[in-house]
């Protein structure tokens, strides 16, 4: 029997693409885990924190809409700062007034924020906006290296490295720092936290600020070609899968956001690649999604708390 393609390349391509696509899920998933750990909130606005950052960075990088054109690095920083600001406003105007309501009310509140942000993004910009990737800004070759003829892009590598760095930093923050421990204390027993003198309002602001930061970083890393930003696209295309990935990793586990994201990315890519291992699956429409669904359900049946379990 002869194969229609080189089987080695057949493995490398989905491996590389799965890893990087998974990094995208992981980057958004990290913010979801952060807020779930802190507040037991599912934040549906996380995708649009990324969307806002991408849009603001794009507008400043290109000097559109009457905004001044600024250096690339400054535009990126402004984009991330915008996401942090939006996250802090979300905390102050939506989350805090509903703090003592059932968690499902808060969830709907964050859906409201997502829809509101999509609407505002639409008012500002209706076209497709793709951010210049880092290689273009630095005028270097976009290809970092080739693995068995499959190109590995700088902009993809940046996603993976940043995801690893952020997941590790967030993990250490909760493990070692005083403020991180205080956030965990509030999530475990808010009354006791107040009794020892922790300000529940301040830890909540901090958690949302960090979620905004990771969301913003996700936005400026992901909104590069071939992906492009239109209002709501993060919520529409990445958020749902990021949620699933975060839950599979263990929704209270920061390393789990990484593990879950990459796992989902790999399953998706391997299932939609036309591998001889699973003949024909790649040719089914939605085969990748189907495979992800089956793997996710399987994992959750065996490990209901996700792969990395609780509070790591």
């Amino acid at each position: 029997m002869t194969l229609a393609f080189d089987p080695t390349t057949g493995l490398v391509s989905p491996l590389v693409h799965g890893l990087f696509q998974g990094s995208a899920y992981g980057l958004l998933g990290l913010g979801l885990v952060l807020l779930y750990k802190s507040n037991r909130i599912f934040n549906f606005a996380q995708g649009e924190f990324a969307g806002v950052a991408a849009l603001v960075a794009y507008l400043f990088d290109t000097g559109s809409k009457g905004l001044p054109k600024v250096p690339y690095a400054v535009a990126i920083l402004l984009g991330v700062a915008a996401a942090v600001l939006v996250a802090l406003l979300t905390e102050r105007l939506v989350v805090r007034p509903m703090f003592h309501r059932p968690r499902v009310v808060l969830l709907v509140g964050t859906v409201g924020v997502a829809l509101f942000l999509i609407a505002v993004e639409g008012l500002v910009y209706q076209d497709i906006a793709a951010l210049r990737p880092i290689d273009q800004a630095l005028s270097i070759d976009p290809i970092f290296t080739r693995l068995d003829r499959v190109p590995v892009l700088w902009s993809d590598l940046a996603k993976l490295i940043m995801l690893l760095a952020l997941a590790a930093a967030a993990f250490l923050f909760f493990r070692l720092s005083r403020m991180g421990t205080a956030i965990l204390a509030v999530s475990q027993d808010a009354t006791a936290a107040r009794a020892v003198g922790i300000s529940v309002e301040r830890t909540s602001m901090l958690a949302w600020g960090l979620a905004g930061l990771t969301g913003g970083i996700a936005g400026v890393l992901l909104a590069v070609p071939p992906f492009s930003t239109t209002p709501g696209i993060f919520t529409g295309t990445i958020l749902t899968t990021a949620f699933a990935a975060a839950v599979v990793g263990g929704i209270t586990s920061l390393p789990g956001a990484f593990v879950g994201g990459v796992l989902v990315g790999l399953v998706q890519e391997f299932a939609s690649a036309d591998l001889p291992l699973v003949p024909g699956l790649g040719s089914i429409r939605g085969g990748g999604e189907l495979a992800v669904a089956i793997v996710l359900l399987g994992i959750l049946l065996v490990r209901p708390k996700g792969l990395l379990g609780s509070e790591t």
Binding site: T181, A182, L184, A185, T191, A195, V196, S199
Partner: protein, 232 residues
């Protein structure tokens, strides 16, 4: 001037009043015990003192300064700490981290207080790296009191410190509280366990949000009526 002065305190939940003008004071260096049946308003009272319950009216003064209306953080900083009813340890944090968090407002004295807490509760030192939620009920109670002590309080409030403990363990807790008091900390206990009476300099009895007795522990012990009605 007393260390703690509660004057015409009014508070409640939602629209429902629980305390409608409660007044009492506690002298520095003493152990006061607040008795009363379930629902009398004891927890509401100590939580209000700790700043965990909004004060509707009246005033709470600590060491000559008004603390009612202040946020809990400020009240802890001033020197009032509470061991909550139901213990409220942070279940998924280690004993060590629970204690560290007790010193949230008092980092400088944390080391010294930690040694003090270990001297009262050697058991906690043995279990430093255990998750607080996996401790026995008695150990969790020790941790709750130890965590409150970590802020180096001048007034320690303990709400139902013996609830659910064996008579022997309850007695142990009372003995440690007595040592804490001997070392200079003023203590206000909420109790339903009459075994605490020998340690009480001052006894208060609450019924439906008002005080029906305020005297020495000895007086309460001798008045058979009160004993029967309120302490069962």
């Amino acid at each position: 001037m007393s260390l703690l002065e509660v004057e015409g305190l009014r508070t409640g939940y939602g629209l429902l009043p629980v305390l409608q003008g409660l007044s009492f004071s506690v002298e520095e260096g003493t152990t006061a015990v607040l008795f009363g049946l379930n629902g009398a308003g004891k927890t509401t009272t100590v939580n209000a003192i700790a700043g965990l319950q909004p004060v509707w009216g009246g005033s709470i003064t600590f060491d000559g300064q008004k603390i009612s209306g202040q946020p809990a953080t400020k009240i802890v900083e001033r020197g009032v700490a509470i061991s909550l009813e139901g213990r409220h340890v942070f279940p998924k944090l280690s004993v060590r981290k629970n204690l560290d968090l007790g010193a949230w407002t008092a980092r400088k004295t944390a080391k010294q207080q930690l040694d003090l807490v270990f001297s009262y509760f050697p058991r906690l030192e043995e279990r430093l790296d255990q998750m607080a939620g996996t401790l026995s009920g008695g150990e969790q109670q020790m941790l709750a009191i130890g965590r409150a002590l970590m802020s180096k309080p001048r007034l320690l409030l303990i709400d139902e410190g013996s609830l659910g403990l064996s008579p022997k363990l309850a007695q142990t807790v009372f003995e440690v509280v007595s040592r804490i008091n001997d070392d200079g900390t003023t203590v206000l206990l909420v109790e339903q366990n009459i075994g605490v009476l020998p340690y009480a300099d001052q006894a208060l009895v609450m019924e439906k949000g008002t005080l029906t007795f305020n005297g020495s522990g000895k007086e309460l012990g001798e008045s058979g009526d009160l004993r029967k009605t309120y302490l069962g």
